[in-house]
Symmetry: C2
Subunit: 215 residues, 2 copies
DNA sequence: AGGCGTATATTCGTGCACGGATATATAAAT
DNA sequence: ATTTATATATCCGTGCACGAATATACGCCT
């Protein structure tokens, strides 16, 4: 049942969804994604857009319907979704909604290596991050409120609410982390030790706990 | 002050951090990343590892120290970090910790296009997702508890706590979303309308609200 | 002694992502 | 009337990500 893997670029999913609505040409897809603010949730690069359309074409998920020319502007090719494309759109959505995908946020990577920064510097940077996050959450919450006030259907805002929920969780986490570091978390003497003799300290830590304290 | 952009692959950051500890060869870096469970937070592909080392070498952030051969096994090149590399490691960490980076989680993309699924199906899938998340959060929380119980220093677990915090936020969000849909959220008749006449309904929604209800 | 799974260690080819170039049309500004 | 900026529309080259291939060594079972 599980066929070939889906295209790797989520922009391809957006293309399928738009062509599911009606046939259109690539540039128009870009414009609509922007108008509807889907750009915030699905990375849009015009270069990738055309690459992705080539890929969907090769896989038989979309087809060129007509090639129009308006005066001397570049040709526009109008695409439409195929039955196979409709299936792919559906299966892909099922996978994405039904199963959490393993992802690698950059901040998680940074936290992973946090000991390479001296504790005082880390603290200052975390405070800065917290400020930015607070600004962003406030702005996002404001936008959501003002749009809801206009009776815009919530169904078309879920992704923004999701983003806000995650951002707030990060805000709480960072605030808590700051608080903990301020009260000697780490523990701090060990953290400082890493900076006095990095290799020895790291060895000690991971040797003492068998190298793999997980599981 | 802000020099050339950092390498795009966070694995390069991990390489710098490891070589900051002591010189070593690529394969060993992979092994250590696995032992320390950093693999969960920083995507490790051996193919990418060698690519990334090539890149760091070209940028002058690391240098080949010696090339050893053990019997007839393939040659191993041992690398060390350069002063420029130490600077890069530091600057990169400053950027990552200090400023939230715009990212594009797949689930957010899916939520963006949620209307393409009929409400009943979406509901079933969200319930399935919730179950998976509950399992994962329970497992993660257990691991953290057992490791802390062994007195393993919290400093080397932050990234896991962060992951857990975000996962829990998603769990709450999904649970809430399910509850809302169950009680007619969407609104449901509009959502069903999208499936009876997709184009007309979409046009109506975005025309009524000026196409851009944000901001 | 022979076979087989696993660990060691790296290279290569393919395919995708994206910045930037290209070219024309239209609206605004001077 | 002429420059300037912005919108329309697509293409291409470079560089990066990763799966798969390669090759040797070692421990274990029979």
């Amino acid at each position: 049942m599980t066929s070939r893997p889906h295209p790797s670029n989520p922009l391809a999913l957006a293309v399928l969804a738009l062509l599911f609505e009606r046939p259109m040409h690539p540039y128009e897809m870009g414009v609509i994604l922007k108008q509807r603010h889907k750009e915030e949730s699905i990375k849009l690069r015009y270069g990738s857009l055309y690459t992705v359309i080539e890929l969907l074409l090769a896989r038989g998920f979309i087809a060129a319907r007509e090639t129009a020319r308006d005066g001397k502007r570049p040709e526009r090719t109008i695409y439409e979704i195929t039955p196979a494309g409709r299936d792919e759109l559906h299966d892909w959505m099922v996978d994405l909604v039904g199963e959490p995908a393993k992802e690698y946020p950059q901040f998680e990577a940074a936290l992973c290596l946090l000991p390479v920064l001296p504790p005082d510097e880390a603290l200052a940077l975390l405070r800065q991050r917290l400020k930015r996050i607070e600004q962003t959450t406030a702005a996002l919450a404001g936008e959501i409120a003002s749009i809801s006030a206009q009776n815009f259907p919530a169904l078309f805002l879920v992704e923004t609410e999701y983003r806000l929920a995650l951002l707030r969780a990060e805000q709480v986490f960072v605030a808590e982390l700051i608080r903990r570091i301020e009260s000697g978390w780490g523990p701090l003497d060990l953290w400082r030790g890493v900076h006095e003799d990095r290799e020895a300290t790291m060895n000690k830590i991971y040797r003492e706990f068998g190298g793999a304290p997980m599981a």
